[in-house]
């Protein structure tokens, strides 16, 4: 077991907490066992008795936003079935935070400040690339308006991500095709795009952010479509969480970020696999 990873994790989580507390964020604890997990096409929850383990704390954070908590964060153990590899583990630590009355570019500034604060020799040069421009340059097509999920995922992994690794440092892919919006809102005036970004550092996907969708009807439509697609794929279909739909209706405009703490620690240690930072796996 490498003590380095254990001690660096302690230093990292302390500095993360200090960073958010200095900015008046409240650390929250939300349920790990859920009656209804968040329904996403390619994320599968682990069963825990008659409950499920959370795949993300997102649904409860939005309920807190709806209840008037404007700046919140959580260091949240999350669980995703079947995800195992050098950069994946079925149990992992997510840093998730939300700010009311902010959009995805506001939380990008906060993300830059966070990385600079917790990682003294981290990336100083940040590039921002639109998803359409990155795909045109590295894969030769524009997925906005031409979305093909299989082609998008395969080209992202085989062509775009290796190019981001070659660029090195911090690269932000922003403005995803609306079909890949997940829980983000459409970009005003550009209905083919969603206000979502993903941060890559040295080619490793580290964080995902949205201007949050606050339209409960659109949220319900997305869940219904997702349920139909999951059923067609033979995957478990979870019921619609009405308390969450209600939270989407009541919450203020907000933006949120989910950042993989294990991957951040891995990058800070100069490693290319999670093994040294997850000593029990």
């Amino acid at each position: 077991m490498r003590n380095d990873g254990v001690k660096r994790r302690d230093a990292l989580t302390r500095s993360v907490r200090a960073f958010f507390h200095e900015r008046d964020y409240v650390e929250v604890e939300t349920p790990i066992r859920l009656k209804i997990p968040c329904m996403e096409l390619h994320i599968d929850a682990e069963a825990s008795g008659d409950h499920f383990l959370r795949t993300s704390p997102e649904m409860f954070h939005k309920r807190l936003l709806a209840a008037g908590h404007e700046r919140i964060f959580e260091l949240a153990k999350c669980f995703r079935s079947g995800e195992r590899g050098p950069l994946h583990n079925p149990e992992y630590t997510m840093l998730e935070w939300y700010a009311a009355n902010a959009d995805y570019m506001d939380v990008l500034e906060l993300t830059k400040a966070l990385i600079a604060s917790v990682w003294c020799d981290g990336p100083s040069d940040w590039k921002i690339l639109a998803v359409s421009a990155a795909f045109m340059e590295f894969a030769g097509w524009d997925p906005a308006g031409n979305y093909d999920e299989d082609r998008f995922d395969v080209d992202l992994v085989e062509k775009v991500e290796p190019a981001l690794k070659a660029i090195g440092g911090a690269v932000v892919l922003k403005d995803y095709p609306i079909e890949a919006a997940a829980l983000s809102r459409p970009k005003p005036g550009e209905p083919l795009l969603a206000e979502r970004w993903e941060l890559y550092i040295d080619g490793v996907e580290l964080a995902n952010a949205y201007s949050e969708l606050t339209d409960p009807d659109e949220q319900r439509r997305r869940f219904v479509n997702c349920a139909a697609e999951r059923a067609a794929m033979g995957k478990a279909v979870y019921p619609i969480d009405e308390a969450f739909i209600q939270a989407v209706r009541e919450m203020p405009p907000a933006a949120g970020v989910a950042l993989g703490v294990d991957r951040l620690l891995m990058l800070m240690l100069g490693e290319s696999s999670l093994d040294p930072v997850l000593p029990f796996r």
Binding site: H42, R84, V157, A182
Partner: protein, 188 residues
Amino acid sequence: MYSASDLKKGLKIEIDGDPCMITNFEFSKPGKGQALYRCKIKNLVTGNTFDKTYRSVEKVNRCALISRDYTFSYIDGDNYVFSDNDTYEEAILNKELLGDLKYFIVDDMQVEILFHNERALDITLPNFVEMTIAETEPGARGDTATNVMKPAKLENGYEINVPIFINEGDVVRIDTRTGTYSDRVSKG
């Protein structure tokens, strides 16, 4: 059939009728996207390697490989003929497939042949074989050092490095996995 999630390094699969082996394997899952299984694959017939990415919904054919025990019978032109120890059926392997192993095949040798759909893919010889040195410079008398080597030829023309004390007519043991000298069995 395998599911894509069953794939792993070392697994043998069948692609377009050819037996293949996964030589490198990477689980990949872009944010919010589907699981992708990125493989480097070696075609076990042609030896070519290539990259292939499987999506989680894809199925992959299993590869039925069978290995059976044979006894070496005779050489027929470019072909080496072996006889099945149980059925006496003949298996014919071309010298191209055998490569340098052909130099170490001796009468009545017991071998294992790996088949895919009745096509011979690979042969495994006993780890050691005894062969006679046909040609080498005379060694210095009394020099038993094993770290000084000199070239030598077997009766079938295969060239090998042997210690300086080995002479023509000596019988030596050769490691068939590496094609190198192991030790001396008897003096010529």
